[in-house]
């Protein structure tokens, strides 16, 4: 096998349908279209199993097949000799193929027909170039160079807030990505919340996605990157996210209404899932296999920086409470609901969960004794806050709160005064009620 399977990855994105030839036990040939020929590793591909077909009947009895795939751009054909190994009906590979098949199905207007029942794994025994005289298409953009540019732009920072902004902005310089989100896993590991966003009219800071929900949630649950190259209604967030009602306030996720390409990459460090990096585009096939590789590396780098930032020690110097000028004007009505720690300002939803609880604690401290300066260490120890034993999410929650306040209620602001230290600035009198 002179050709590598890696070099054929552009043929394995579902842009041009593949065909699969099999043989019945009596030697009768069969040819069928394969919705999806998925690159598994350097020696294996997986074919989607959607219906019990003649192809499937044949390979279960006589486990040999030939698949013909076509390269987009050049239309060069390649034929792969395959040996059927097994079928997977759950797990990361299955979930990845299910997500990708949803994209292919919509692209081909077959979204009511294509439902994945299994991922049939085949070992690739041989690859034949059918059209060696046809020149290859122009090379795609160099993903390694894109990665390097992105890392150059990201630079070196141990400040989480800075990291969230620069980590996303750097994607434009490197990969031409214009729409992206950075989401962090919450303390319970049940949901992800948006810490940073790039390129949306509403920032969506604080918007949540349940683990397992949509493309981002599935990528988090399975801890795998998932890339969809075509528009699909599956894995959409819009419907769920717009279902806002009074009893369960939600911040809408600011994603594109009809993205044509999407990728979600988990942030994993030291075996722990920290969050998900998500990017999308209005263009079909925007993210290549190589882009996926590069973004996986980038997400690991980001995860390492996030973990490092969380370990940085707080400043030792105690903060000095500076006298505040007494706020004037009409009072702001701040209402707190203990059930979900949600906070409403003048009846508008602001935030909930850990961040809501932190804000309520700070405002009460301020109302009780006029305190404005706080440090992370005391918050970690505060029994009123629903924080887990490990405290590395506190910093991201404070950034989330700071950003949400800046967007929705700049009258109340959190100002960073040092590492692990911040000041509460209040521009109007507050009327607290719970």
């Amino acid at each position: 096998m002179n050709l590598s399977l890696e070099s054929l990855r552009p043929c394995l994105d579902g842009a041009i349908p593949a065909v699969v030839a099999t043989s019945a036990l009596d030697g009768t040939p069969n040819v069928a279209y394969a919705s999806q020929v998925h690159y598994v590793d350097a020696e294996h591909v997986a074919l989607s199993y959607q219906f019990f077909s003649k192809t499937r009947e044949n390979v279960l009895a006589h486990p040999y097949a030939q698949v013909q795939v076509v390269e987009p751009g050049s239309f060069r054909h390649f034929r792969l000799k395959l040996h059927y190994m097994r079928t997977e009906t759950e797990g990361p590979l299955f979930e990845y193929m299910k997500a990708q098949l949803a994209g292919i199905a919509t692209q081909t207007h077959m979204d009511k027909v294509f439902v994945l029942r299994g991922a049939d794994i085949y070992r690739v025994l041989d690859i034949e170039s059918v059209d060696p005289h046809i020149p290859p298409p122009p090379p795609p953009s160099d993903a390694l160079l894109s990665l390097r540019r992105t890392l150059d732009r990201l630079g070196d920072t141990t400040d989480l807030s800075d990291l969230a902004d620069r980590g996303l902005a750097a994607l434009t310089a490197g990969f031409g990505i214009r729409h992206a989100l950075l989401l962090m896993l919450d303390e319970a590991g049940a949901a992800l919340y948006t810490l940073g966003s790039l390129g949306y009219p509403d920032s969506g800071i604080g918007a949540e996605v349940k683990v397992g929900e949509g493309l981002i949630g599935v990528a988090a649950r399975e801890r795998i990157p998932i890339r969809i190259n075509y528009r699909t209604g599956d894995y959409a967030y819009q419907t769920a996210m717009r279902a806002t009602h009074a009893t369960e306030p939600r911040i809408p996720l600011p994603v594109l209404a009809n993205p044509h390409s999407r990728i979600a990459v988990p942030l994993i460090h030291g075996g722990r899932l920290l969050g998900v990096l998500y990017a999308e585009s209005e263009h079909d096939a925007f993210f290549s296999h190589a882009d996926e590789d590069a973004l996986v590396v980038y997400a690991r780098h980001l995860a390492a920086l996030v973990a490092q930032a969380a370990c940085e020690p707080d400043d030792a110097e105690p903060a000095h409470d500076e006298p505040a000028t007494r706020p004037t004007g009409a009072p702001l009505a701040v209402r707190y609901f203990a059930a979900d720690h949600s906070v409403f300002i003048d009846n508008d939803y602001l935030i909930k969960g850990v961040a809501g609880s932190i804000l309520w604690t700070l405002l009460n401290e301020h109302a009780r004794n006029g305190r404005r300066d706080f440090c992370n260490r005391e918050l970690r120890r505060d029994p009123r806050l629903p924080l887990p034993d490990f405290g590395d999410n506190l910093e991201t929650r404070l950034i989330l709160l700071q950003r949400r306040l800046a967007e929705r209620c700049p009258t109340i602001a959190l100002e960073k005064t040092g590492r692990g230290r911040f000041r509460l600035n209040i521009g109007r009198p507050l009327q607290l009620s719970a």
Partner: protein, 161 residues
């Protein structure tokens, strides 16, 4: 015994189609090759399918060695797909008519794909990929015809000898 294709099936076979021919080699390996033209006999009981000799070497060798043949044709814009099978195929002569048929089928296929947004330069690319200078014609009388349109009904027998 062969089946007689319906008028509708015959018309479908003359439309803009993606065509692939399959066979099974002596070693038991299935093989496939893109076809580049199909002609239906006047009595609608036989077909001639056109392949490039160089691109379809394995399929042609398998058929020469007595393999059964399968032809799958699909219209890209609708996904309507037929599969026709026979227990054998024989070589037929190629000439100007077959070359003209191949050129016409490839151009129609390219035109169909262009309408689906597969990009400019497609006609030239497919013409270069599927030239008419080394055509092999394979004639067979279909014994069974399947509806192979993707979906749960794929594989339904439409006609059986």
């Amino acid at each position: 015994m062969s089946v007689q294709l319906t008028v509708e099936q015959t018309a479908f076979l003359q439309g803009p189609l993606s065509m692939n021919v399959g066979a099974v080699g002596r070693d038991g390996w299935p093989c496939v090759c893109r076809a580049q033209g199909v002609m239906v006999a006047r009595d609608r009981q036989a077909l001639t399918v056109l392949l490039s000799a160089s691109r379809g070497r394995a399929v042609i060798d398998a058929l020469d060695a007595g393999s059964g043949i399968t032809l799958v044709v699909s219209r890209p814009s609708t996904h309507a797909t037929l599969q026709l099978k026979a227990s054998a195929a024989t070589r037929a002569t190629t000439g100007a008519a077959q070359r003209a048929c191949s050129a016409r089928c490839v151009a129609a296929f390219a035109d169909e794909l262009k309408g689906l947004g597969y990009g400019a330069g497609l006609e030239q690319a497919l013409a270069a990929l599927l030239p008419t200078d080394d055509l092999v014609a394979l004639r067979f009388a279909p014994e069974i015809v399947f509806d192979q349109t993707p979906g749960p009904d794929a594989g339904r027998v439409l006609a059986h000898a």
